[in-house]
Amino acid sequence: MSFFGVFYLALIIAMLVADFRFTNWSDMSSLLSDARVRFSIWLSLISCTIAAILSLWVAIPTGFVLARLGSESMTQRLGQRSRGFRRLFNGARYFIDTLLDIPIVLPPLVVGISLLVLFQTPVGRWLDQRTGEVFASLGYAGIRGITYEIPAVILAQFTVAAAFAIRTMRNTFEQIDDRPERVAVTLGASHYQAFSMIALPQAWRGIVAAFTLAWARSLGEFGPILIFAGTARMKTEVLSTTVYLNFQFGNLRGAVSASLILVTLAIVVLILTRLITLGGNSKKGVIV
């Protein structure tokens, strides 16, 4: 069994070593001297951070609700209902769970096409237009809407990253005992206070893990961005599209150098997360 693990580890290390050997410092230096690449690094960092924050904003309450809907106390409460109601409730819960996992299993291009089609509907077009007006009123006239603009990059990243963040937060809250929250309610706390004062502080490691996962997933996102935001240089180009564009134009050394920037950023974030969450255990909401 361990042979397969060692083989996989060797494969990852061999790929990284091959990347590093293929390029050199002068390739990297010339890539970084290109203003368009510096813009794509900057846009990647900003868009990934915004997408990760938005993902957490959705994932924390959603993960908590999903975890508590499947908790023992909910099972006890359901025990007082009819068998038909219990079946309906559990069916609805599994259906919502499955819906939320769709962005994880869908091919990335399909996510991009679906977003593009969504913004061709009357509601989507209205939202596109209003977003352009909001940015114009804020003095960012260059951003004319969502589709093929920076908001499209963030929305494409968020659509996939949020699904991973929700799954992480649901697992985190499932590992946190809900009995203290029930006691808090008898002490006079509202359900929101029980969540924010009892459950949330216990979930901080899971929150860090969800943020990291969402950030790293956003950094590697390519398919939905390609379809929904395009690859306009100095406009919607992020690091993953820099790799693609360099490869398309036959600049393999440039593509590998851009890939190494992506790899370095991902490794730094993963190491930082490990360090932050070090010292926890699986019963304290640790997911990473």
Binding site: S73, Q76, R77, G79, Q80, D177, R179, P180, R182, V183, A184, V185, T186, L187, G188, A189, S190, Q193, M197, I198, P201, Q202, K284
Partner: protein, 223 residues
């Protein structure tokens, strides 16, 4: 006076039908019964943590059957104490007052009073993970008493403690119940514990609660 009238509860295939009993004000009531007979289910229903199918619960003449748990003024100490892992002991005890909007000075005064009565002064600055079983239960007791509840529900609070700690806490429970003048409903399997603490004893068996006489040597029916 705590009055439970014709209470009916369902939990899957398990059912309690027409459970009725009364606890006089400031009494120390003991509820005993075989494992799995529904003692904890009944206690949690009184606290508002489980919905009931039928019947009434009255505390001091006020019906609280449909009142949310936060507004019932009932203190609850679960079997495992269920302390809040990220809060220091001081904040655990003050929690009920904090969410009810008590002022800082009121909270400080009450925490000091309870810490002194329950011998918690030395551990107010500690987190629950470092506390012993007895300390944990004393903190849970102080937390449940902090907002001066009308009824205190204790779910086998001494069952996981060793002999000496159990004896000390038994004495402390009796003392604190008298000093706080609070009505207590205490679940236990231990007849000796029930005889030492209780002023009124009930037994839950086959879905019915009946009053019994409890002595160190055992439990007898009143009829």
């Amino acid at each position: 006076m705590i009055s439970v009238q014709q209470l009916r509860l369902c939990q899957g295939d398990f059912e309690l039908r027409q459970v009725s009993f009364e606890i006089p004000s400031n009494a120390y009531a003991i509820l005993m019964g075989p494992t799995g007979c529904g003692k904890t289910t009944l206690l949690e229903s009184i606290c508002g943590l489980r919905a009931i199918v039928g019947g009434k619960i009255l505390v001091g003449g006020d019906e609280i059957t449909r009142t949310p748990p936060a507004q019932r003024q009932i203190g609850y100490v679960p079997q495992d104490s269920s302390l809040f892992p990220t809060m220091k002991v001081y904040r655990q005890i003050a929690f009920g007052m904090e969410v009810r909007g008590f002022s800082k000075s009121e909270r400080d005064q009450r925490v000091e009073e309870l810490a002194s009565s329950l011998d918690l002064t030395e551990i107010l600055d500690r987190y629950p993970r470092g506390l012993s079983g007895g300390e944990r239960q004393r903190v849970a007791l102080a937390r449940a008493l902090s907002f001066r509840p009308r009824l205190l529900c204790l779910d086998e609070p001494l069952s996981a403690l060793d002999g000496d700690t159990r004896n000390n806490l038994t004495k402390l429970l009796k003392k604190i119940q008298q000093s706080e003048s609070v009505t207590v409903l205490h679940i236990t399997h231990n007849v000796e514990e029930g005889a030492q603490l209780g002023t009124i004893h009930f037994r839950l068996e086959k879905g019915q609660v009946r009053e019994v006489v409890c002595e160190d040597s055992g439990v007898k029916n009143t009829t």
